[in-house]
């Protein structure tokens, strides 16, 4: 029997969700609604008695204090009502927990075909509301057709007895799992079949694949298990493993770099090896704190003698671009499995986000799938639910608006974990599989999720086809699994652990079997969400919230017992062997039999032409711009720019202090509303040590030169740590590259060679700056196709490419958290110092952008000179001489002096003539140049002498003082007063753009 329960807040209670819909309809589309009420719909597809239905209605689904409910449609007034539900196969988290609750309270078990589905009905009131408005609200605000379906009813067509009807989004595949054999008689046949099946085999790989399957010895071995030509599951396995996502073919490629101005050429064989691996391994030799790098799911560093921290960063761009909420929650929950799958397992302690999207107020003629505003709303909410429900604090984040991200948005997610240095007496960072150990899949079940990623988006939907390619992460299931696995680790039950992300079992089992040199998998044992998946689909499905674990058979019973206690599903799906083969069977029939070492042998390297044009040769120049007169309005307008202004509404949605470890929060200052330079946590609660973490993004500089973009980004991320008191001898880095396509194509990618040259230059800067600052790259990832094709006004499409973007994350250990410093000015009378030299470097600046210029003089990093200054500041902070310290970042000195003053809610007077500068004779250059390597520091006047002694011979000058009056006063180099404005006015300007958002 199928029942549909409608639940709503009592009529006199404020409906916050409905109110939100009303606000957005007005703000986004100018649609005036007089009221919105939300109805939660629970559809129960199970055989329950009337009494049972009554019990679950009153005990689970209806709060007697706040809610009303009925198995008939609720009579709530509306002019239009919109029902929104998931498409079949989309993860319905509340539906699953409802089943748990119903089973628990009734003491029953649902059958395989029984389920609970949740959906919503919105009752809209608005006298002038049209069908078109309702359609707009449904499709552009409430639902995304990739994962959801909806129905719209006007009051006239509403049947108060039937309501929305009964909609059961059950997946029915009605398909017998079949293994297909694929002929390899010629390259062209295999290429054709690869295209037809969406295998995405690289044409250059096809001869290697064919020669393997045509090898007489291989054929003989295959014949012994009943196989001849390759099966679909085998080719899918090869395709996944050889993909750029898994294998980083671009970064491992061969680059023929040429500077077109000088005709100098340089052949770079493997950017990963030369710019990441070699420098990092060199630094590892010098830095005993580097514990584990370059092989595991995340890198590890020494926290204290008993703990290691682990860190990694990911992006989840393409899925978020299509379904912002689902993509982002899957991204954050997914990256949290990386530390969990590092070493023998790490407990998660922190996360961060970076969102790059189109302008929030975009009103041009390009039609992205999701408007940037909606996209941003979705990714914010996705990371919110993913992080908060995982019980992991989100302590740092950045948002950047730029037209280039209209083609594809960027969603960066970063995860930190901590592990004991020893587990059961063995090194926790090490792991391997051994023959005889069991292959266990833990966590969620397998469906058609994420198969072939976005290629599936072009398929048409039917009523019961699963919407597989976009997923919705399930932090609840994963949190249970996390707690279980950490306990299993501590009991010494885990020999090897890795996550199921891209490539699913194909990747996790394939990679883990390399340690033992083989495995046998019984694919029919893999628990499925629904029947009818082909074998290859089970093997490569990217269904979330799963880990693959190797367990000694002697520990199996204890492992499964613990798993059961934590209400986590764990299933033995095979065993590791030393046969040298990946051997997969399904009900006893072999469907894959491949040499484990196939993937490490003989595949061709990707190749790229990289042609560099200097900025001058590309026609960039410094604009003819005279010194402005009205600095007050200029400063306020710059503070209101979207990439500078306050985004407190996002920060406060994220739980940044769960786990009770918060030391430096994302928002600091007297009013707790100004962004801190870095986050600091105390991940081991009874230790005085801290972990400091920061990130930087400066893609605007790529318009001039990605080399300097990269060096400035790294420098900013380092300075952020130095400003809170981190130890410069211990800074680990994580590089996340997001680049537009670099493969030249005369029509589709005419500037591919230039973008390839930008990548080479960026990697060179990465190597040079990291070596100079002694930053090993603990982890890193690349996402190489940040382009989109957007329809325009006339039916044409435009390729929109992102700026060449690097997010750089830094991490350090704080020896004593009690010495940490925040960026807000503390006391009237304190002295204001500028550290570092201001140069004429407005190229790519926020100031130039404000006027529509790019410029030429992009900021440069002089790491040897800077590092001396950073150490001096570290020394001053360690001696507790510093009241506040803040890096001078995007927007320059003017913006960041204002930040320090706004943080303290105190006045400040500064004389620009005293600012250490190199050949700068203009006030606007001093105020808005974005020269790297600089800080603003305030100190107690009592400490003046000893502070200045530390900086003797360095670029350091006292430029003014903190005042009690509340005015922000800037004197120009000609001794005139340029700015005299209440700090509160600056704060108002800085908060105005997004101040109404919650």
């Amino acid at each position: 029997m199928t029942c549909r329960l409608e639940i709503s807040l009592k009529p006199d209670l404020f409906d916050a969700e409905g109110h939100g819909v009303r606000q957005k309809a007005k703000n986004y589309f100018g649609i005036e609604l007089t009221g919105v009420r939300t109805v939660h719909v629970v559809t129960i597809d199970a055989d329950l008695s009337t009494d049972q239905l009554k019990t679950i209605q009153s005990e689970i689904f209806t709060n007697p204090v706040t809610q009303i409910s009925s198995y008939d449609p609720l009579a709530i007034e509306f002019d239009w009502t919109i029902w929104v539900g998931y498409r079949p196969g989309v993860r319905d988290n509340p539906g699953s927990t409802a089943v748990e609750a119903v089973e628990d309270i009734l003491g029953i078990k649902f059958g395989p075909d029984e389920a609970v589905y949740t959906s919503k009905r919105y009752c809209l009131k608005g006298p002038a509301l049209t069908a078109e408005d309702a359609d707009n609200i449904a499709g552009e605000l409430l639902a995304n057709d990739i994962i959801q379906q909806w129905k719209i009813f006007s009051i006239d067509e509403w049947n108060p007895y039937e309501g929305i009807g009964v909609i059961i989004p059950r997946v029915i595949l009605d398909h017998t799992p079949t293994v297909a054999t694929i002929p390899v008689d010629s390259d062209s046949t295999l290429k054709r079949i690869s295209d037809e099946r969406g295998l995405a085999l690289n044409p250059a790989d096809i001869p290697t694949i064919r020669s393997y399957f045509l090898d007489a010895k291989v054929q003989a071995a295959r014949a012994s298990v009943g196989l001849s030509d390759p099966t679909d599951i085998e080719l899918e396995y090869i395709s996944q493993a050889r993909s750029d996502h898994c294998n980083h073919n671009t970064f491992r490629g061969l680059f023929r770099y040429m500077d077109l101005a000088t005709n100098e050429t340089d052949v770079v064989d493997n950017l990963f090896k030369t710019c990441i691996e070699v420098p990092t391994l060199t630094l590892k030799e010098q830095k005993p704190w580097v514990v584990s790098v370059l092989w595991d799911n995340a890198g590890a560093g020494l926290f204290d003698n008993h703990h290691y921290y682990v860190i990694t960063g990911e992006t989840h761009n393409s899925p978020s671009n299509m379904e912002a909420y689902g993509g982002a929650i899957t991204g954050i929950v997914g990256v949290y499995r990386d530390p969990l799958g590092t070493g023998k397992g790490s407990k998660l302690v922190m996360g961060s986000y970076g969102f790059c999207v189109g302008p929030r107020d975009y009103n041009g003629e390009l039609k992205p799938r999701l408007h940037p505003r909606r996209l941003l709303d979705g990714v914010i909410e996705g990371v919110r639910d993913g992080g908060n429900k995982s019980g992991i604090p989100t302590t740092f984040g950045q948002v950047l608006f730029h037209h280039g991200y209209m083609g594809k948005c960027l969603v960066f997610v970063t995860a930190l974990g901590i592990m004991p240095s020893l587990v059961n007496g063995e090194p926790a960072e090490q792991k391997k599989t051994s023959p005889g150990e069991l292959v266990i899949m833990c966590g969620g079940r397998v469906g058609k999720d994420g198969i072939h990623g976005v290629t599936a988006s072009s398929e048409t939907f039917s009523e019961h086809t699963p919407a597989g390619h976009v997923q919705i992460g399930d932090p609840y299931t994963q949190k249970k699994m996390h707690d279980f696995l950490i306990e299993a680790r501590d009991q010494g039950l885990i020999k090897f652990i890795t996550d199921n992300g891209g490539g699913g079992l194909s990747s996790s089992v394939g990679e883990s079997a390399r340690f033992s040199n083989g495995c046998e998998i019984q694919l029919e044992k893999v628990p499925l969400k629904y029947e009818g998946l082909d074998q290859w689909e089970i093997w490569i499905s990217e269904s979330q919230e799963r880990m693959t674990v190797a367990v000694n058979p002697a520990h199996l019973e204890r492992f499964l017992e613990l798993s059961g206690m934590h209400a986590v599903e764990s299933t033995v799906i095979g065993q590791y062997t030393d046969s040298g083969k990946l051997h997969i069977t399904y009900n006893g029939q072999t469907c894959a039999y491949i040499d484990i070492d196939l993937l490490t042998s003989g595949f061709p390297q990707w190749e790229f032409d990289a042609h560099w044009q200097t900025p001058e040769n590309r026609g960039l120049f410094e604009p003819a711009l005279n010194d402005p007169k009205d600095y007050e309005d200029l400063l306020k307008d710059l503070l209101s720019r979207p990439n500078i202004c306050s985004k407190e509404w996002i920060t406060r949605q994220y739980d940044h202090e769960v786990q009770g470890a918060s030391v430096i929060k994302p928002l600091v200052g007297a009013d707790r509303d100004v962004n801190s330079d870095a986050a600091v946590i105390r991940p081991v609660l009874d230790s005085q040590k801290g972990l400091a973490f920061a990130q930087a993004l400066l893609p605007s500089y790529s318009v001039i030169d990605a080399y300097h973009m990269t060096s400035c980004t790294i420098d900013e991320a380092v300075r952020r740590l130095v400003a809170v008191g981190a130890d410069l001898d211990h800074i680990g880095g994580v590089d996340n590259f997001c680049w537009p396509n670099i493969q030249f194509h005369p029509q589709n990618n005419p500037d591919g060679k230039f973008k390839a040259a930008q990548l080479v230059r960026s990697c060179r800067a990465l190597r040079e700056i990291c070596l100079a600052y002694e930053i090993p790259l603990l982890s890193g990832k690349d996402s190489m196709y940040v382009d989109g094709h957007l329809p325009g006004r006339y039916g044409e499409t435009h390729k929109v490419s992102a700026l060449e973007t690097l997010q750089f994350s830094t991490i350090s250990v704080i020896p004593d958290i009690k010495k940490c410093v925040t960026m807000d000015s503390k006391m009237p009378g304190d002295l204001v110092y500028i550290l570092g030299t201001t140069r004429n470097e407005l190229g790519g600046s926020e100031y130039y952008e404000h006027f529509g210029y790019v410029g030429l003089n992009v900021p440069r990093v002089f790491p040897d000179e800077f590092a001396v200054l950073y150490r001096a500041l570290g020394n001053a902070i360690d001696k507790e001489l510093v009241a506040s310290a803040h890096g001078i970042f995007r927007g320059g000195l003017g913006i960041h002096l204002a930040m320090v003053a706004m943080g303290g809610n105190l006045g400040m007077q500064v004389d620009l003539g005293l600012v250490p500068a190199d050949q700068v004779d203009r006030n606007d250059v001093i105020l808005f140049s974005e020269s790297a390597g600089r800080f603003i520091v305030t100190i107690d006047p009592e400490n003046r002498e000893i502070f200045e002694k530390i900086f003797k011979g360095l670029a350091c000058a006292c430029v003014g003082n903190v005042t009690s009056g509340g005015d922000f006063t800037i004197k120009g180099i000609d001794n005139t007063t340029l700015i005299e404005v209440p700090v509160q006015d600056l704060k108002d300007a800085w908060k105005r753009p997004f101040g109404d958002l919650v």
Partner: protein
């Protein structure tokens, strides 16, 4: 080893168990994190503890109302044992998701010694979103609450999307009259917030942030005392430190008000229950 035992529930998406256990240890208890299923299957007995803590988190993802499914599971499988635990004079604390669970279990407000009926609710914040921010709480000195004894004002973080306290007016009147309203959101000067955002972060009726049962032994609150377990948790600590330094003093590194709340419970349990 302390003779006062605090049992902190874990599992099913709960997530503040580690720091809650740590804060209870700081307060002098022996704290253990116990999976809900370990209590249900009898591996662990409530009888060995004097303090039971329903901590923060997202039990069952908070689907179908925060704390609802946790309450269903606890009531179905452990209802009698929890009532026995209370009858024996022990202490129960619910923090955030735990408070939501206590009101859904009916353990709070416990009017007329009825510990099974839902009569108050914690529903969606008026601001429409999850919010993390520090709030100032005014403690009702007349409340019988064991946990807040001797405390006047507290600053603690809130981190929730469903913390708006709601009940009908007569119920709220009874809670006020019986001094079961323990902590209320306040303005920076200590005056009542009068539902002004963000001082009252969720629109709670009567600025209610936490209530106790008539005995004062069952206490639930939305803010997180366990997240203020060290002075560096406080958002102003770098400012306070500088201020105190200038006056030639050093910052107070003694127990935070969060830990003092737990100390009250441990001291009560030591006196009354062991």
């Amino acid at each position: 080893m302390s003779n006062v035992h605090a049992l902190i529930l874990t599992g099913y998406g709960l997530n503040c168990d580690n720091e809650t256990a740590y804060a209870f240890e700081l307060a002098g208890a022996a704290a253990s994190r116990v999976h809900i299923n370990a209590l249900i299957n009898g591996d662990v007995s409530l009888k060995d503890s004097q303090i039971m803590v329903f901590g923060g988190g997202f039990g069952w993802g908070d689907d179908h109302g925060a704390g609802v499914i946790q309450a269903v599971r606890m009531k179905t499988n452990l209802g009698d044992k929890i009532l026995e635990f209370i009858d024996a004079g022990n202490l129960v604390l619910g923090i955030c998701n735990g408070f939501q669970t206590l009101v859904n279990l009916g353990l709070l407000p416990g009017l007329d010694h009825d510990y099974t009926t839902r009569s108050v609710a914690l529903t969606f914040n008026d601001c429409g979103n999850f919010r993390d921010d520090w709030v100032l709480l005014k403690v009702n000195p007349a409340a019988p609450c064991v946990f807040t004894s001797g405390l006047d004002h507290l600053e603690l973080p809130v981190r929730h999307g469903e913390g708006k306290f709601y009940a009908d007016e007569s119920t709220i009147g009874r809670l006020v009259n019986s001094n079961q309203v323990v902590v209320q959101y306040a303005m920076p000067d200590g005056s009542p917030a009068l539902r002004r955002f963000p001082y009252n972060p969720n629109g709670s009726a009567h600025d209610i942030a936490g209530i106790c049962d008539p005995s004062g032994r069952i206490f639930g609150l939305m803010p997180h005392p366990e997240a203020f377990n060290h002075y560096t948790n406080h958002p102003d600590w770098t400012r306070t430190k500088e201020n105190i330094k200038r006056r030639g003093n050093t910052i107070d590194t003694g127990p935070t008000v969060g830990v003092r709340m737990f100390q009250n419970a441990v001291e009560y349990a030591r006196r009354a229950l062991t």
